[in-house]
C-alpha cells in the first residue's frame, strides 16, 4: 500500500503541472492527427483539365479518369501549366475546343499533356492515353467504317459496337510478391502506434527529473526515515513512473480507437505491449534518476535520448524503409521491438502468442535497466 501511495503522489504531481497535461494528453493525439492527415491513407494524384466545356468526348475522357484520379478544371491552359509547375496537380490535359467535331470529321485531334518529368507523370500519361483511346477510339473507328463502307455514321457505330463485343475481354491479373508492408492500413494506424511508442517512452523517461527533484528536496531521505523501507520507496517510485507511462499508453489507445478508428489488432496484445514497454520507460527513468545529479540535466538528456531511440527504433520513419544495416542497428532499441510488436498485431493480424518474443525482449530490457537502477539508487539515497 505504501508503494501505491508513492506512485499515486507521482501521478498527482505529474498532472498538477499543466505543461505535462499538454505533453501527455494533447500533443501525442495532435501528432497522430497531423501524421495521419499528411501521410496516412492512399495518395490520389490530381489531373487538371482545360477545354472540356460541355464537349461530349472530352466529358467521356474526364469521366473515365475520374474513377482513379482527382480532377480539377482550369479556365485556361496557362493557369493549368502553372499548377503543374507548383505541384498543385500532377498533370494537365489540354483539350481542343472542338474535340468531338474533329473526331467526327475523321481528323486526329491534338490533345496537350503536361506533367512533371518523373515516374508518376509517366504513369498518369499512360492512364490518360488509355482513357483517350477508350473514349475516342469507338468514334474514330465508326467514322472510318462510315467513310470506307459508305454507310451512315449511325450504322457504322452499330457495326463497330458489334465488332467490339465479339472481341474477348483480356483479363489482367495483378499479384504482389512478398509482404505488402502497409496494405490495408487505416489513415491513422501507422502514426498512432509509432507515436504511442515514442510518447510512452518519452513521458516515462522525463519522469526521471521528478525522481531527482524528490532527492534534491530531501523528500526521499524523509521517506526513508518513515516505516517505509528503501526497497518500498524505490518500488513506489518505479510504480509511479510506470503508472504514468501506462496511463498515457492506454489513453492514446482509447482516444485514437474512438476518434480515428485506429485498428490496434488484438486488444489484449496491444495492452501487453503498453504494459511491457511502459515498464522499459519507467526502468530507464529510474536509471537516469539514479545516475544524474540534477533535474535539468536529466530532463534535457531524457528528451534527446527518447527522440534518438524513437528515430532509430522506427517511431518516426518505419524501419522497413531503413537500409538493412540500419535495420540491424534498430534492433538494439526497445522501440524497435515495441513497433514491430504493433506491426505484428495490426499489419500481420498476429495474436498475443505471436508477440510473446517481443514482450520477452522488452521484459529483458526492463529487468536489466531496473537492476542497475536499483543498485545505483540504493547507494545514492542511503549514503
Amino acid at each position: 500500500m505504501t508503494a501505491f501511495a508513492i506512485a499515486r503522489t507521482a501521478l498527482l504531481r505529474l498532472f498538477r503541472d499543466r505543461s505535462n497535461l499538454f505533453f501527455v494528453f494533447v500533443f501525442p493525439i495532435a501528432l497522430v492527427l497531423i501524421i495521419g492527415a499528411q501521410f496516412g491513407g492512399g495518395f490520389e494524384p490530381i489531373i487538371g483539365v482545360t477545354g472540356v466545356d460541355g464537349d461530349p468526348l472530352a466529358g467521356d475522357v474526364v469521366d473515365l479518369l475520374d474513377a482513379d484520379y482527382g480532377i480539377r478544371e482550369f479556365d485556361d491552359s496557362d493557369a493549368a501549366v502553372l499548377a503543374v509547375e507548383r505541384g498543385y496537380v500532377s498533370a494537365v490535359m489540354v483539350f481542343p475546343d472542338d474535340l468531338s467535331a474533329e473526331a467526327l470529321a475523321g481528323r486526329d485531334p491534338q490533345i496537350g499533356f503536361i506533367t512533371q518529368p518523373d515516374s508518376s507523370g509517366q504513369a498518369i500519361r499512360a492512364a490518360a492515353e488509355s482513357a483517350l483511346n477508350r473514349a475516342i477510339g469507338p468514334t474514330a473507328a465508326a467514322v472510318a467504317v462510315s467513310q470506307s463502307q459508305g454507310v451512315s455514321l449511325e450504322q457504322a457505330e452499330l457495326l463497330v459496337e458489334g465488332a467490339a463485343s465479339a472481341i474477348a475481354d483480356v483479363d489482367v491479373e495483378t499479384r504482389t510478391t512478398g509482404d505488402a508492408l502497409f496494405a490495408d492500413l487505416g489513415q491513422f494506424d501507422l502514426g498512432a502506434s509509432s507515436q504511442l511508442v515514442l510518447f510512452v517512452f518519452l513521458t516515462g523517461l522525463v519522469g526521471s527529473a521528478a525522481l531527482i527533484q524528490s532527492r534534491q528536496l530531501g523528500v526521499t531521505r524523509r521517506m526513508l526515515s518513515t516505516t517505509a523501507s528503501a526497497r518500498t520507496v524505490i518500488f513506489g517510485e518505479v510504480l509511479g513512473r510506470w503508472g504514468v507511462a501506462v496511463f498515457q499508453g492506454i489513453y492514446i489507445l482509447i482516444v485514437t480507437l474512438v476518434a480515428f478508428r485506429v485498428d490496434w489488432g488484438d486488444p489484449i496484445g496491444a495492452l501487453m505491449i503498453v504494459l511491457c514497454f511502459g515498464l522499459v520507460g519507467a526502468s530507464a527513468a529510474m536509471l537516469f534518476g539514479a545516475v544524474f545529479k540534477n533535474d535539468q540535466q536529466a530532463g534535457g538528456i531524457s528528451v534527446v535520448a527518447a527522440l534518438g531511440l524513437a528515430a532509430l527504433g522506427g517511431s518516426m520513419v518505419p524501419v522497413e524503409i531503413f537500409s538493412s544495416s540500419m535495420q540491424s542497428i534498430a534492433r538494439i532499441t526497445p522501440h524497435y521491438w515495441a513497433n514491430d510488436a504493433f506491426a505484428e498485431l495490426v499489419r500481420r493480424d498476429g495474436s498475443v502468442v505471436d508477440i510473446l518474443p517481443h514482450l520477452g525482449v522488452l521484459a529483458a530490457y526492463s529487468i536489466v535497466l531496473l537492476t542497475v537502477a536499483i543498485w545505483r539508487l540504493q547507494k545514492v539515497i542511503t549514503r
Binding site: M1, A5, T9, L217, G218, R222
Partner: protein, 312 residues
C-alpha cells in the same frame, strides 16, 4: 522509566573523515535535549544515525527501547524527523503533503484526515491547508515541515536545525511551536548552532565538536562546570568608589570595581547574592538607577571547552 532515546558510543566515518567519533547521550520522556555545535561538528550525521537513515560504524541507538537501524520500522515509527531541508513537495498542498507522508506510516481514511487537521492547527496552518506549499512564506514552509514530523504522533521529535535561513519573525514562531510541544510533554532532540535556541528550548544540552560530545548537562551545570561567575552591573549616582570597597566584603562577591558611573560586581550566583548587593548600595546612601545581571552562557562554555567561538 525507559528512556525515549539511548545513544551509546555512536561512530561513523566517511573514508578518512571521522564525522562522529563516539557519541553517547540519552533523552528521558518529556525532555528537550539540544545538540549544540558549529557547522560540521557532526550533528546531522548523528541525527541521521538516530533517525535510521545511516548505518553506524559502531555503537547503538535505541528509541523507546527498540534498536534503531536503517531497517527497523518499529523504532522509526517512534520518531518524527524534521530535517534541515524543506522535505515537502512544493507543488502539493499542505494537506496533500501530510496525506502522503501519513500514508507512508500506514495511516488512512478519517483518522488520517483528523490528524492532519490537528497538526495543522498545532503549527498554525489550518486555514491554509488547501494552499500549495510553494505559495507559503519561508516560515510557513518550515512549520509545515514540522507538522509532517508530528503527524504520526511520534514519541521523539527530532529537529535538525529547523530555523536555518528563516526570518526572525518566523524563527520565533517555530521556537514557540517547539516550546509548545515540549510543554505538552513531547520528547525533543533539537540540533542547532544557535546558542540562544539551545538555552531557550532545551532542558539539557550536549555540546558537540569534531564528532565528539565534549560536555553535557543543564545550562546551569554546564556554566558551573567552567567555573565562571556572574557579573552584576549597577548604574548609580553617589560615591561609587566607596560602595565598591564595601561590596568586596560582601559574602560571595569575588571583586567589585567602579567605572563611568557603573559598579561591576563579579559574584558567585548573582540570583542569591543580589539582595545583599543592593542593600550595600542603600546602606552607603547611593541611589541605584539600573541593575543588569549577566551570566556566563553556552557560548562561553563552548569557547572554554573548544577554544573557538560557536559560529566559527
Amino acid at each position: 522509566m525507559t528512556n525515549v532515546l539511548d545513544v551509546d558510543g555512536l561512530k561513523r566515518s566517511f573514508d578518512d573523515l571521522v564525522a562522529v567519533g563516539g557519541v553517547s547521550f540519552s533523552i528521558e520522556p518529556g525532555e528537550a535535549y539540544g545538540l549544540l555545535g558549529p557547522n560540521g561538528a557532526g550533528k546531522t550525521t548523528t541525527i541521521s544515525m538516530v533517525a535510521g537513515l545511516l548505518e553506524s560504524d559502531a555503537g547503538s541507538v535505541s528509541v523507546a527501547g527498540k534498536l534503531m537501524t536503517t531497517k527497523s520500522s518499529d523504532a522509526k515509527r517512534a520518531i518524527g524527523l524534521v530535517p534541515q531541508d524543506l522535505a515537502i513537495y512544493p507543488d502539493l498542498t499542505a494537506a496533500e503533503n501530510l496525506k502522503f507522508f501519513g500514508s507512508l506510516y500506514g495511516m488512512r481514511g478519517a483518522s488520517l484526515n483528523e490528524r492532519i487537521m490537528t497538526v495543522l492547527e498545532m503549527v498554525g496552518l489550518s486555514d491554509r491547508a488547501d494552499d500549495r506549499s510553494d505559495e507559503y512564506s519561508g516560515g510557513m514552509k518550515r512549520r509545515l515541515n514540522i507538522a509532517v514530523g508530528l503527524l504520526h504522533e511520534p514519541q521523539l521529535l527530532i529537529l535538525d536545525e529547523p530555523t536555518v535561513g528563516v526570518d526572525p519573525q518566523s524563527r520565533n514562531a517555530i521556537l514557540e511551536s517547539v516550546e509548545g510541544l515540549s510543554s505538552r510533554g513531547m520528547s525533543v532532540l533539537y540540533t542547532t548552532h544557535y546558542m540562544e535556541e539551545a538555552e531557550r528550548l532545551c532542558d539539557r544540552v550536549g555540546i558537540i565538536d569534531n564528532g565528539l560530545l565534549v560536555a553535557e548537562g543543564t545550562r546551569r551545570s554546564l556554566v558551573d562546570s567552567i567555573g565562571q561567575d556572574d557579573t552584576v552591573h549597577v548604574t548609580a549616582t553617589g560615591n561609587l568608589h566607596h560602595v565598591a570597597e564595601l561590596l568586596r566584603a560582601v559574602e560571595g562577591v569575588v571583586t567589585a570595581a567602579e567605572a563611568h558611573g557603573v559598579v561591576s560586581v563579579v559574584v558567585d550566583r548573582a540570583a542569591i547574592r543580589l539582595p545583599s548587593i543592593l542593600a550595600t548600595f542603600t546602606e552607603a546612601g547611593v541611589s541605584v538607577v539600573a541593575v543588569e545581571v549577566s551570566e556566563p552562557n553556552l557560548e562561553a562554555v563552548f569557547l572554554h571547552l573548544t577554544g573557538k567561538a560557536l559560529r566559527d
